[in-house]
């Protein structure tokens, strides 16, 4: 049984106020693939991302992570399989110290203390933040916070990583570090981003959303050479 792919089948979602955010969205991300989710503001990227972790459930259609359908009874398993990194690191980091934040997921998984300790070491090492372990998140720079945010989900050893605007508000060096870290992952990745450079360097494939619909799903190189599509997305004039 592989948990390493995500499949959306005819997913529609409407918010309680009636706004339809996703219309008939279908795609499959295979094991180990790194896929970018592109689209203008309000296209439905964040709504789609929240579906991968079961924070939102489709109004109609089906989301599967591996062989597991995303539904209420499977949520604990889904949240273990899909690591979701939010756009704003301040929302992601809520515990008093970095190590407690990184330990939050594994402790919720009821892992023994020794295993939790190992997971913290492993996750902080993966993002190069071992020396920040005892620090309070509020004392970290923007780039460090972003890396620690990623560590908080890596510690749960997810099969799939979902990142919402990972490079937003980062300076050049922090961004380069982040691209290097994401590139080193072997996880199945879904990355929502407006950062063309990051997408070109990290993702082999891109899905383009507009008004809650998929308007393109092709190799990244093809997407960025499609002048009409770029114009439609407002990336060129």
């Amino acid at each position: 049984m592989s948990h390493h792919y995500i499949q959306f089948s005819n997913v529609c979602y409407a918010y309680p106020n009636g706004v339809e955010a996703l219309h008939d969205v279908s795609f499959r991300i295979s094991h180990g693939e790194k896929v970018a989710l592109l689209g203008p503001n309000g296209a439905g990227k964040s709504t789609l991302i929240l579906h991968t972790n079961g924070l939102l459930l489709p109004t109609s259609g089906e989301v599967n992570v591996g062989d597991i359908p995303v539904e209420k009874k499977t949520l604990p398993l889904i949240r273990q399989s899909v690591g979701l990194v939010f756009q704003n690191s301040d929302d992601q980091l809520f515990m008093p110290t970095v190590e407690e934040d990184v330990a939050f997921g594994p402790l919720n998984m009821k892992l023994p203390e020794r295993e939790v300790e190992h997971r913290i070491d492993m996750a902080l090492k993966a993002v190069g933040c071992q020396d920040l372990r005892k620090r309070a998140p509020s004392q970290l720079s923007g780039g460090q916070r972003r890396r620690v945010s990623i560590a908080t989900v890596l510690s749960m050893e997810p099969s799939v990583l979902v990142l919402d605007e990972p490079s937003s508000n980062l300076d050049w060096k922090s961004r380069e570090d982040l691209i290097r870290i994401i590139s080193s992952f072997t996880h199945t990745c879904l990355i929502a981003s407006h950062d063309v450079d990051l997408v070109k360097r990290v993702c082999q494939r891109s899905i383009v959303l507009k008004d809650g619909r998929i308007i393109a799903d092709r190799p990244t190189d093809e997407i960025f050479t499609d002048q009409d599509l770029m114009r439609e997305l407002g990336l060129i004039s």
Binding site: L55, Q92, P96, E100, A103, N108, K134, V153, M156
Partner: protein, 257 residues
């Protein structure tokens, strides 16, 4: 809130400090409303414990003054309603109401100082961990943790809004009531919004109702802790049961005579 790697004083864990503080509060608050001289002696606990825990007493005392307006509000009606003469200093009659008012202020400040020392020792979440180890129900502790967490969220949002307002205020210090009203409404909406995002982040990492604790330092109970707690309880009982101010006055009077 500053977080420390291990509880101080060395060898004394947070549970011992928590138990001592609870005993202190119970004994100190049981002093009669007019026993001001006895209450003053109880300041020995924060004065000694603050430096042991690595804090300056002056700093703790100044911080405790933040709650003074609330304490004043609690006690302010005593002098108004209780005008019975209680003691005479020279020609000045002092009513029982003024004495109990002073007693409320001393109790409030001493209580606040003890709590500040407790929190500065191990942080608020450390305090919650200690409560959990003392078998206080999880539901109550989680509520406390959420109140603390969302209070900080609200403060952060307020700070952001103040910054945005000041950036466009061109040096203006005062604002009409309408602006404050709008800000309060916005603050509420932004705080709820932010809280929802944080809650989503917690749920996405498997949160199911109890904030888990992670401590990689020893929390063992040693004889030092027992000694620490028992010594302080003995001191509190002596201060409470023996009328030390009376004996001090006797000794002073015999010296004068």
């Amino acid at each position: 809130m500053e977080f420390r790697d291990q509880a101080v004083p060395p060898g004394i864990n947070s549970c011992a400090l928590l138990i001592t503080t609870i005993c202190y509060l119970i004994v100190m608050l049981s002093v009669s409303p007019t026993g001001i001289s006895m209450l003053i002696l109880f300041s020995i606990f924060p004065i000694i414990t603050a430096p042991i825990c690595g804090e300056s007493y002056l700093k703790i005392m100044l911080r405790s003054l933040w709650v003074l307006p609330f304490i004043l509000f609690i006690g302010i009606f005593n002098p108004i309603f209780d005008k019975e003469a209680f003691l005479k200093i020279g020609e000045l009659d002092i009513s029982r109401g003024w004495v109990t008012f002073a007693s409320v202020i001393i109790r409030g400040l001493l209580g606040m100082q003890a709590i500040l020392i407790l929190i500065s020792n191990d942080g608020f979440l450390g305090l919650c961990n200690s409560l959990r180890r003392l078998k206080v129900p999880d539901l109550l502790i989680t509520q406390l943790q959420f109140v603390f967490r969302y209070l900080l969220v609200m403060m952060e949002e307020l700070q952001n809004m103040r910054r945005a307002r000041d950036a466009r205020s061109y040096g203006r210090d005062t604002y009409p009531l309408k602006v404050w009203g709008n800000m309060m409404g916005q603050l509420f909406i932004r705080t709820v919004d932010r809280s929802q995002r944080i809650h989503a982040a917690m749920i996405s990492r498997g949160f199911s109702g109890t904030i888990p604790t992670y401590n990689n330092y020893s929390f063992g109970w040693s004889y030092k802790n027992t000694l620490y707690v028992c010594s302080w309880i003995a001191v509190f009982l002596i201060l409470r049961l023996i009328n030390i101010p009376y004996y001090i006055s006797l000794v002073t009077a015999s010296h004068i005579l």
